[in-house]
């Protein structure tokens, strides 16, 4: 059944069908509508489990509550954005270190300062190496569907999963979504059987202190399990398609990129814009395609290299920009393509909610295809302003010194 719903509600309804035992979150824009939706469904008894909804005093507490409940053996969910993710960072690492299969939505939003509530992906990028699987949604449909897959991935592998959903662009946008049924979800997602849990009949100490004599092995084991997640993530996506009759998730998705000379690589909702652009180029018979990365962590570098080995140039479009790193996705791509002849361009756009216009991105792609693009470029950045202010502020600081 097709429904016209807000992205957040599509996500909330998908989670509800997964019969979570515990939902615990702290409000932060743009994640709020998801947890408001869940709070309402719990109150109205619409979730077919004895679901506990816990209001807490911080994101740190929200994930900590999930750590407690997951370690007690129940299906646990939280959601956050931006500063909230950073505020819970210590617990984020703790949850993956203890291999607790918590599912968390990231309503992707910029991180401050300066404070900014709008969309980019610097929040989930900032915690990309925390040992959580990260999967990205392109549409509201996929945002909902990925959560159903996320519980299965998390619980099958005993690794927590972040589902990254672009704030506002998806969370607050209304789109047609095909709703899943309880029967479909029940067929797809078995009840949660924890790897280990607190149990009075079998007392266990969970979270012991590990010293130098064993820490390296524990860490290596943890990373080994993490690195093995790619295959199951792909399989679960295919299993999903069989039961629900639609594609969602998986490691990547081609759009005219199987044989194209020029390939645009991106994460999340910007792929919609990119695909529109590809359609326009294709009318002119330009050899260009879009390649969407669905699973960002673990990073399927080998698979991407295999899929795009024909490409002459790869243009990585992403919504994050870090001091000392630049674009995270571009960096990962450069590592995956080291030794390859393909030229990798890093394009940064959409920071702090700035719209990515087709026209602006096309100008950049045109220049790339003429081999005139710099290795690092920005979509609609007012460079003159940045350079003028840089000079002025340098002068001020030297006067002050």
């Amino acid at each position: 059944m097709l429904k016209q719903v807000e992205g957040s509600i599509a996500v909330a309804e998908a989670i509800a069908l997964c019969r979570p035992d515990l939902v615990c979150a702290y409000p932060i824009t743009p994640q709020t509508h998801i947890v408001e939706g869940l709070a309402d469904m719990v109150r109205k008894g619409k979730i077919k489990s004895n679901c506990q909804y816990i209001n807490v005093e911080s994101e740190f507490a929200a994930l900590s509550v999930c750590i407690g409940s997951s370690a007690t053996g129940v299906r646990s969910y939280t959601a956050t954005s931006s500063q909230g993710l950073l505020y819970m960072a210590e617990a984020v690492y703790n949850a993956s270190g203890m291999r607790l299969p918590i599912v968390m939505t990231i309503g992707n939003r910029a991180i401050g300062g300066p404070i900014n509530i709008w969309n980019d992906q610097s929040d989930s990028m900032a915690l990309r190496d925390a040992g959580w699987i990260q999967i990205h949604a392109e549409t509201n449909q996929e945002a909902g569907d990925l959560h159903i897959q996320a519980f299965k991935i998390a619980e099958q592998l005993s690794i927590p999963v972040m589902v990254c959903v672009d704030g506002f662009l998806l969370t607050h946008a209304y789109e047609q979504v095909e709703a899943s049924t309880q029967e479909q979800v029940d067929e797809f997602l078995p009840p949660f059987k924890p790897m280990q849990a607190l149990d009075c009949d079998d007392p266990m100490s969970i979270g012991a202190m590990v010293g130098p004599e064993a820490f390296m092995e524990v860490r290596a084991l943890n990373v080994a399990h993490f690195d093995n997640a790619l295959e199951p993530i792909q399989e679960i996506s295919e299993e999903f398609e069989k039961i629900f009759g639609r594609k969602a998730g998986g490691l990547f998705e081609h759009y005219h990129s199987e044989e194209a000379d020029t390939v645009v690589v991106s994460l999340g909702s910007v792929n919609g814009t990119v695909k529109d652009i590809i359609d326009e180029y294709r009318k002119e018979f330009v050899s260009i395609g879009s390649f969407k990365i669905g699973c960002y962590r673990p990073f399927p570098g080998k698979q991407i290299l295999e899929q795009l080995k024909h490409a002459k140039r790869i243009i990585v479009v992403e919504k994050d920009y870090f001091a000392g790193v630049g674009g995270c996705l571009a960096n990962d791509m450069k590592i995956a393509f080291r030794g390859s002849d393909a030229k990798i361009y890093s394009v940064i756009g959409g920071l702090g909610g700035r719209p990515i216009f087709k026209k602006s991105l096309m100008k950049i792609l045109d220049r790339a295809m003429e081999d005139e693009l710099e290795e690092l470029s920005f979509i609609d950045l007012d460079r003159t302003l940045v350079e003028r202010e840089q000079v002025r502020e340098d002068q001020f600081m030297s006067n002050a010194g």
Binding site: N50, V56, T72
Partner: protein, 334 residues
Amino acid sequence: MSTELKPDFCQTGNLTAGNRLQSIDVVSVQSTEDRANALTSGHRACQGCGEALGARMAIDKVMELSKNKVHVVNATGCLEVFTTPFPETSWNVPWLHSLFGNAPAVATGVQAALKAKGMEDVTVIAQGGDGSTVDIGFGCLSGMFERNDDVLYICYDNEAYMNTGVQRSGATPPTARTATTPLSGPHPGNNFGQGKNVPKIAMAHGIAYVATATIANVRDLEAKVAKAMSMKGARYLHIHVPCPLGWGSLPKDTIKLARLAVESGLYPLFEGEHGEITGVTKIRKKVPVDEYLKLQRRFVHLFKKGADTEDLAGVQAIADAHIKYYGLLDDGEK
């Protein structure tokens, strides 16, 4: 609670564990054969550790009353480190450690999970030292209180960050030497602030039960655990636990110090329900704070030649204020 006990026929140390002259119904769990031994021997606490004693006393009582149906959440700190060096553990209970500042929230999650599973007969304990309780985990603690989650939180207060090498915490008493309040400058040791009295702050939350206890009075401690466990909702127990390493005291003096803290008035024993004080343990024989302080090297500067007498007087004033506020002396006594 202790007023119900009959110490008349007892020998010296009449309220300590193992007193064979007490009737079986008031005898301490610690002196019974079938105690659960929640925290087994072989752990790595220092000699004379008050926290190890306090934790064993409290959790053994919880085990007895809950018939071993208990989940324990532990904050990072000495108690966590000395009991669970992987692959060993001293705990005979289902035990979970996550972080330094989140034990109350983790316990909320454990309790909510038990509720979701329809297993509300399992008692949930959260425990930590004063650093995690009064400082870094205080936000989570207040949240757990405010929601009235069905968790008994136990704080083992040794008045500083002992696990990291004796740094000042929000529970460190004025003038005490710690590694970050050294014995130098015009006012050596910790400053005189308002202090952070978490038992009183817990009372201000209006939670079901708040009590302070000491390892020098086992049956009072156990009675308070029992009282807490007879109630539902958020409950808080604050146990004073001397630390020979951090306080510069002799291991053999741990129990003595715990007793002198009470007898001097510096550590008042009281209990309260829903924000009202319902009972205090009177001081049997009041001692000046000097007797308590002199046994600890962290206060050595107070008794040196030329020491600022105001500092010592300030500590005595705190004890006197406690005695007055809680009514710790019988009428007519001073």
